[in-house]
Assembly symmetry: C2
């Protein structure tokens, strides 16, 4: 491990000149710079990030917090963010906070402290307390999924997306519509699930449909949870004719449940998802598409902007959504029969 001193000695200059030369700072003659670069390469010199970090106070590292890595959705966002960070010369520190324990631990110990120059929170609904902990870091902060004081933010219009989905079902003739929610019974200050639930109920009301409490079932975030939720709906005395789900993965679980019960989609049940998961096309799921990679990339870019400008000004960027109609939605059986009469 050759140090900067070694490079300096061989180049016949001082360490400061090497430092300047290697980082492209001005104040070094082109000739000297070239010589230094050559020798550094020859020696396979690589800077000590710890030393550099200690001296400058910057780590050239961004902390990314995400509930899970193994969901397609999060993987995509992370990928988008990483690309931007890498291009700007930053490395990415990954923290997953999927289960309650690791989440609490993260916000208690705040392992990003002193490790990163900025923090990117991906699709996680922060409690006010958690957001506060992060603000206390006094670093540029960004958020994908919703807005929060002190964070730059990139997000879609959850209300509008929900409306698109539900109105689509209503337009097809459905009136008995359930929702598989993305919400644990005890939310941690989650906001998107709440917005979508409210928008769901609002859209029904706007169409003079009375929301039915037993048709609002919890779903968490897995295929299995979606399956159980649909099982539950099918077990009610009068099952709905259509279901709006919080996420495509829940919808896929719902599809699985339908298949297991020998019911067909959309004849026996219309299903709409949210996200436009890469598999959704395959299972012919009607869904609300949102740009996923782009949200990660954009949020990372906002962070980079703050970092280079040195400003602490946050910004908010809305992202487009779109209803993608596929085979999982159709008119309810009753209306089909009626029209057949």
């Amino acid at each position: 491990m050759a140090g900067i001193e070694e490079v300096a000695r061989r180049a016949g200059v001082s360490p400061s000149t090497v430092s300047r030369a290697l980082r492209g700072r001005s104040g070094v003659s082109e000739r000297t710079r070239r010589r230094i670069t050559g020798i550094a390469e020859e020696l396979d010199y690589s800077i000590s990030r710890s030393a550099s970090g200690l001296a400058t106070g910057r780590t050239m590292c961004v902390g990314v917090i995400v509930p899970f890595v193994w969901r397609w959705f999060f993987g995509q966002i992370i990928g988008g963010a990483e690309q931007v960070l890498r291009a700007a010369g930053y490395d990415m520190m990954l923290y997953t906070t999927g289960d309650l324990e690791s989440r609490e631990r993260f916000f208690r110990e705040l392992p990003v402290r002193g490790r990163v120059d900025a923090v990117l929170v991906l699709s996680m609904d922060l409690t006010e307390q958690e957001a506060d902990r992060l603000r206390g870091l006094d670093l540029p902060l960004a958020l994908v999924g919703h807005e929060a004081e002190g964070f730059s933010s990139v997000h879609i219009d959850d209300r509008q997306g929900t409306r698109l989905a539900v109105q689509h079902l209503i337009n097809l003739g459905h009136r008995d519509i359930a929702m598989i929610q993305g919400l644990e019974p005890k939310p941690l200050g989650a906001i998107a699930p709440i917005i979508r639930r409210e928008a769901f109920q609002q859209t029904l009301s706007d169409n003079d449909i009375e929301p039915r409490p037993e048709w609002m079932v919890p779903g968490a975030f897995s295929i299995g949870a979606g399956e159980r939720a649909m099982d539950q709906l099918l077990a009610t005395s009068t099952p709905p004719t259509a279901v709006f789900t919080y996420a495509d993965e829940l919808a896929m679980g719902a599809l699985r449940s339908m298949r297991r019960h020998g019911r067909s989609v959309p004849q026996d049940m219309s299903i709409v998802g949210f996200d436009d998961h890469e598999m959704s096309e395959y299972v012919e799921l009607t869904t609300v598409a949102q740009p996923v990679r782009a949200q990660g990339a954009t949020a990372a870019q906002l962070l980079m902007n703050q970092l280079t400008s040195g400003s602490r000004e946050t910004s908010v960027l809305p992202m487009p959504i779109e209803l993608v109609v596929r085979g999982s939605t159709g008119p309810p059986r009753s209306s089909a029969e009626l029209s057949g009469d």
Copy 2:
């Protein structure tokens, strides 16, 4: 940002004592430790990782290299690894090298240098040159997926897995068997795809079946690639009756192609995948299951062992595999007709 000196002053001790106390080192009275801990908490003191890293030479950080984050398979492995690293007090630095450009860039610049205490390579087939670059780091190294000199390694028996899958097809009565490979035309020293291809051909030979070159189609790693591959197979003059695919995601693409062509599975075509993707159960895919999270976790554990023991001894751990038979495989139509006669 209170420093260690501030804490020391308030506690009426020296910085070294604070350092010892906070890191749980011996040689501090319980009373003093408690007092220091209290004050540190009160001041919201957090250690400067750069300074600590510079002083100790350790970063408490592990570099994880992975082709993509957005594949279920990789997400799972990362998740498994992260859990183990976090528990051991290490943070995780993530590097994705999915496309050629970022891969070359990574191995050229080696951004892990001076940033991490160990490197974990997940399911990436390294070229000898790339492995060399990593070995030059002189850090503990681990690999998931295959073996390499100087790396601890966790992997399944690809040959055996392939044999399980292909023999299953043969036992069902298939003799016209194709393979959708996980191999780009110009491999980068990839080894698992080669092993599986060879094992595929060997298994056929062992059963006196002549492998047919036009039935060996390339597949890369996406659902789309699997779909195109199956399109290609269906377009041959005499399509096979069964297909073994390199990965479940390719198999899902193959299923999509079948559906698009109005063919049914397994009547018109039996399909076997590899991995046991979480969606595979849903699409009723017969597959070779391998532990995924566990491989990431185990590899991380091997690294932790090396780090704590300080030894540079590498170890190799085989992981179990299992054929999971679901609805995507059955006897070939001809044999079904014969038995019906």
